[in-house]
Structures are given as C-alpha cells and as structure tokens.
Amino acid sequence: MIQKIKKISLTMFAAAGVLVGASNIAVAAGGDVPQPPKNDWAHVGPFGKFDKAALQRGFQVYKEVCASCHSLDLVAMRTLSDLGYNEDEVKAIAKEYDVMDGPNDDGEMFSRPGRPSDYFPAPFANDQEARAANGGALPPDLSLIAKAREHLSLFRPWKSQYGEDYLVALLTGYDDAPEGFELGEGMSYNTYFAGHQIAMAAPLSEDQVEYADGTPATVKQMSKDVATFLYWASEPKMEARKELGFKVLAFLLILSILLYFTNKKIWADVKGK
C-alpha cells in the first residue's frame, strides 16, 4: 500500500512538475500590467469569514460613490442581512430607494419606496444612457466583478490574483501618465488597468465618505472596504460553502479511513498480509 501511494504520488508530482515548469515559461513571456499587490483578507482561506464591519463600510462606499455610475443588478436588498443588518435596518435601507413598479389598476407605472425583496435600482435606464453620461464608456455592472477579475492558478497558487486585490489596485492605481504616454480625451492613467487608459476618473478621494464607525476614510481603506463588499456581492454563499465543505470533508475522511481498513481486512486472505 505504502509503495503504491509512493508510486501514485510520484507520478502526480512529475505531472504537476511538467505543468508548473511549462506555465512558468508561459507567464514570463507575457503581461504588461504589474501583478496587483496582495492584501490581507479576513474572508480568504479555508476558514475565512467575511469581516462584517468592512462589508458595511464597503456597502456605504458603493452606495454613496459607485452607485451613481455602476449597477448591482444581481443583488437583492434582502440579502443585506448578510452584512449584519437586522430586519428593520434592511427595511430602512430599502426605503431610501425609489423603485418603479406597476402597472397599477389604471394601467400606469408608478414609483414607490423600495422593499427588501427589491433589487438595487440601476443608475441608468439602459446602456446607451450610461454611455452617454460617461463619455461613451460603459460602467460595468459590479455584481460579479470580483469573480470576473480573479485569476487563480492551480499549479502556482502563489501567482493567483484575487479579484479583491485587483479592485484595490485599480482604485488606488491612478497616477500621472508617464512621459510620452498619449492619454485620450477624458481618460485617466491607471497603473493596473489593462492598457493603462481608463474612462473612469479616480472615483475615490480622502474622506469622501464619513464612516459611521469612525474608521478614517483613506482612499486605501475605502478601496479595501468596497472590494470586500464586492467580493461578497459576487459570492454571497461563501461562508455557507466553507462551513458545509468542512463537514463534508470530515465525513469523507472518516469514511475513507473506515473503508481502507474494511478493504484491507477483506483482502487479507488473498494477499496473505
């Protein structure tokens, strides 16, 4: 058995070695945008959980800054209870929005205060309006942006780029364009954006929001908070997933051990061990 495990794991190591080696060359060959620096995230790792205070602060940044341009179509306001708000607080947040509803008995559409079952209303009626208001560029929906910008590497985990780290890098990556760089009209230079020219002007500045919990609202702080919030928005079931995963793996581990000994016993007469 030990021999077999040794053999199988050697084979797997050899295969992984080939893949790691070859993909190392692959990465060295390309890429003009630097790798975003890594941050510490409470929600990363097998036991990671969301930092609720950061989620609430991040939600505040989204609501007060980003929401004027970016929609969050897939997130229902009822799910804000995940951020640690109680039922009344969620109702109060929903009420702050005007939501289109209808038609009523007269066949007319009307606007009413939001309810927890509503989704976040989008800032623009359609993509054309959004482009018209943003110099021709479309601000993407942010519901899945954190997962759409992650680049995970199975064979070289240390090279994995989390979407959250990219978001922080993007939001803090504004800089003066280097000498000779042609910047288009209405564009800004950003170190971490592909091609370095982005149609979103730096959205955050010092003390742009006033945090209820008194945390100083530096650009870095707000970026990290909104990145945490946007990761939650893209993977809201992360905590349930890891919790169930732990139970499943623990069960399977015990089952495997029991079946290992059952199998050994059954084969004892054949193998004479």
Binding site: V18, P46, S153, L252, N263, I266
Partner: protein
C-alpha cells in the same frame, strides 16, 4: 470468468427471478458470480469512478434544469439565480461545473491505464472502441454544457469551435450551410443556445446507453490486469463481490475527498473568470481558451498553419486512437514487460501535458514550434513508434499465470 450462479432463497425473489432474472444479472456482473483477476491495482478503480461521475452529472444536471432558463436574455441571470436564491443551488452548480472536470480527469486516467496495460488488445477491441465513443460524446456534451451559462467564454468558445466547421466549405452543396445549420442562424444566438441545451440534456443518456454496451463487452473476456495475462484458473480470480465492490467504494470515498475539495474550497479555479461576464457579441475577450480538457487537441489544431489541415489533424488525433489495437503488433499486452514501449508511453504522457499547456497559451512565439514538435510526437507515437517497437521489441519473461505473479509479489 463465471464463478457461480444465483440461487434465490426467499420466495418473493424466486417468483421475480422466474419472470425477470434481474437477480442473476446483478449477481453475475457485480456480485459473487463474476470472477475478476485478483491482481488489479488502483488504476483499475477509475472505471467505477467514471460511472459515478456520469451519475452525479445526470443528477445535478436534472436539478439545474429545474431552475435554468435556456434563453439568451435569461440564461446568465438564471444561473446566478441558482447561485443566489435556490436552496443549495450554489452547491449543485459547483458540483456540476467541477464534476465535468473530474469526469475528464478520471476518463483520461482510465484511457491511459488502458494504453499502458494493453487493455485495447484482442479480445478487448470492442470495449476500447466503445470507450472512445463515450469519450467523444463526453467532449460534445461538455462543450455544449459550457455554452449554457451564456458567459463571455461560453459565447466566444462556441463561436470559435463551431466556426471550425467552415473549413469544410469546399464540400459541394452542403459545405457553406454546415455552420449556419449548427448555429440555427447567422451567428451564435438564441437558436444555438436552445439547440445546445436540448442536446446537452440528451447526450448523457446516450452516454449511459453506450456505457451499458461497454460493460457488456467487458464481461465477455473480463478485466485485463497488470500482467496482461489471461485468467486461466480459479486461482487467478476473486469474486467481484466483496473484493472489488469494497475496493471500488474505498476509491470512491478518496476520490470524493479530492472532488469536494474543489467544489467547496476552490470552485472556480478550473473555470475561466470571463464566464462571470455575460455574453456580449460586441466585445471579444483578449484570448479565447476552451476548457482545460480540450487543450491538447486545441494545440494540435493551432499547430498547423492551414485551417482545413488543422481541423483534420485535430479530429484525426482522436480517431487514430480507435486503431490502436491494430497498430500494436506485440504478442504481450502489458507495458510492464515491454521496457521500450514503457519509456515511449511515459514520453507520450508528458508530451500530452505539454500540448495542454501550449493550448492554453496564445499561438505565438516559441509556443508555435513547441506545439508543432509535440504534435509530431503525438502522431509519430501512434503511426511509427507503436507499430515498429511493438514488432521488434523482445519482451521480458512473463510469469506463467496471474496466481504465480501474485505469489512472487507476496514473497517480495
């Protein structure tokens, strides 16, 4: 090998058995009546694992369909509805998406096991070819399934792959219409999605049918084994139950540990991030890559500068494997006794992995010549190395029987 027959003891089972001999069927194919070589190693666990994966894909797939909407305006949102609102929907979806990868890992190992131990050789040619039919159907099923969530990679992957068929536009009359027919229109759009959805639901059941034929064919000669020798006496075999039922169950538990680590702790690592962006025909992703399990063939496709020849080479790369039983002229099955064949086999495996990496990279720089060298080795392996080496190599001395091989191993 037949060991014993089913004798129902309980009157109900006797009644049933006289009318529908299902007890005999199970007893004789998975039970104590079926004798399997006593020396099978853990590489023989991957057949039952493939069966398990098919069942898991069908069950999770049917649950997904209860909540999924095959329409270009709703498909992406309906998958997110599964992820966010359906009870444990995230788990079902991650089991299915990662399940496809696991299915392919298992099947690749299963196929390579067959190649190493010569399981394709007489009298098992039919088992081998039916297995390859299953693999082809899996490729089609996985490709069409990947289109369903209607993300950017779904859309652009479907566009690139279906466009390959335009290489056949020189065929008179139907040539120009093949791609239009596949699309159900003039681009990948709603009719394509609906068509792929319907076929993605159908094909796994076709696979299940071919799996039954595959196992039926297997039960004629019985399993091959690491020595490649035939089973001759009862000393060579053990009853399938309990020996291999329990060993397979142990394999399943360990494999589920591996599978569930992906599902619960890194559910998106095998996927492409762009598939979390809804399909947009106006925006082409920076580079379009298929799912990892197609990458070696994708590399072969792009290694050849001519489109038609590239497509032909890609299909040929899979079809050639059907002929392996006749390309290999050796009298001995197992590579354990064919030292040269063994070395070329491992080079083949490494070569295939490198082809996979080539397929994941943009077709430029030194990746192009590397893909070409690897493609050349791939075909040379089947068309030159195997046919020649198998005919000139002197095999190592074989044990006289499976029982003797087991005894020799026990002694050390």
């Amino acid at each position: 090998m037949h060991l014993s027959s089913y004798e129902p003891k309980n009157p109900v089972m006797k009644w049933v058995e006289a009318r529908l001999p299902i007890g005999s069927l199970i007893y004789g194919s998975l039970g104590p009546g079926y004798g399997a070589p006593k020396n099978l190693n853990y590489w023989w666990n991957f057949g039952s694992l493939a069966g398990l994966m098919l069942v898991i894909q069908i069950i999770t797939g049917i649950v997904l369909v209860m909540h999924y909407t095959p329409d270009v305006t709703l498909a992406f949102a309906s998958v997110e509805h599964i992820m966010r609102d359906v009870n444990h929907g995230w788990m079902i979806r991650y089991l299915h998406a990662n399940g496809a990868s696991m299915f392919f890992i298992v099947v690749y190992i299963h196929i390579l096991r067959g190649m190493y131990y010569g399981s394709y050789k007489a009298p098992r040619e039919m088992i081998w070819m039916l297995g390859l039919v299953i693999y082809l159907l899996m490729m089609a099923t996985g490709f069409m399934g990947y289109v369903l969530p209607w993300g950017q990679m779904s859309f652009w992957g479907a566009t690139v792959i279906t466009n390959l068929f335009s290489a056949f536009d020189f065929i008179p009359v139907i040539g120009d219409d093949i791609v239009t027919f596949l699309w159900g229109g003039f681009s990948v759009d709603n009719p394509t999605l609906k068509k792929f959805f319907s076929l993605h639901y159908l094909l796994p059941f076709v696979i299940a049918g071919v799996v039954i034929l595959h196992i039926w064919a297997l039960h004629i000669p019985g399993s091959n084994n690491p020595t490649g020798l035939d089973m001759k006496t009862k000393q060579d075999v053990v009853p399938f139950h309990p020996y291999y039922t329990v060993k397979d169950l142990f394999g399943i538990a360990v494999f589920l540990l591996f599978y569930c680590t992906f599902v619960f702790y890194m559910p998106n690592i095998l996927g492409h991030p762009d598939n979390y962006i809804e399909a947009n025909p106006m925006v082409t992703p920076a580079h379009i890559v298929p799912e990892w399990y197609y990458l070696p063939f994708y590399a072969i496709l792009r290694a050849i500068p001519n489109k038609l020849l590239g497509v032909v080479a890609m299909f040929a790369a899979i079809l050639i494997v059907f002929f392996l039983p006749w390309l290999d002229g050796s009298k001995v099955r197992s590579a354990a006794f064919r030292p040269l064949t063994k070395q070329f086999f491992w080079i083949f495996v490494i070569n295939a992995l490198i082809l996979g990496v080539c397929g994941s990279q943009p077709a430029e720089g030194f990746w192009v010549p590397l893909s070409q060298i690897c493609t050349a080795y791939y075909f040379a392996y089947f068309l030159l190395i195997i046919p020649i080496v198998s005919r000139i190599e002197t095999p190592k001395p074989l044990p006289t029987s499976i029982a003797e091989a087991v005894l020799a191993k026990k002694k050390g």
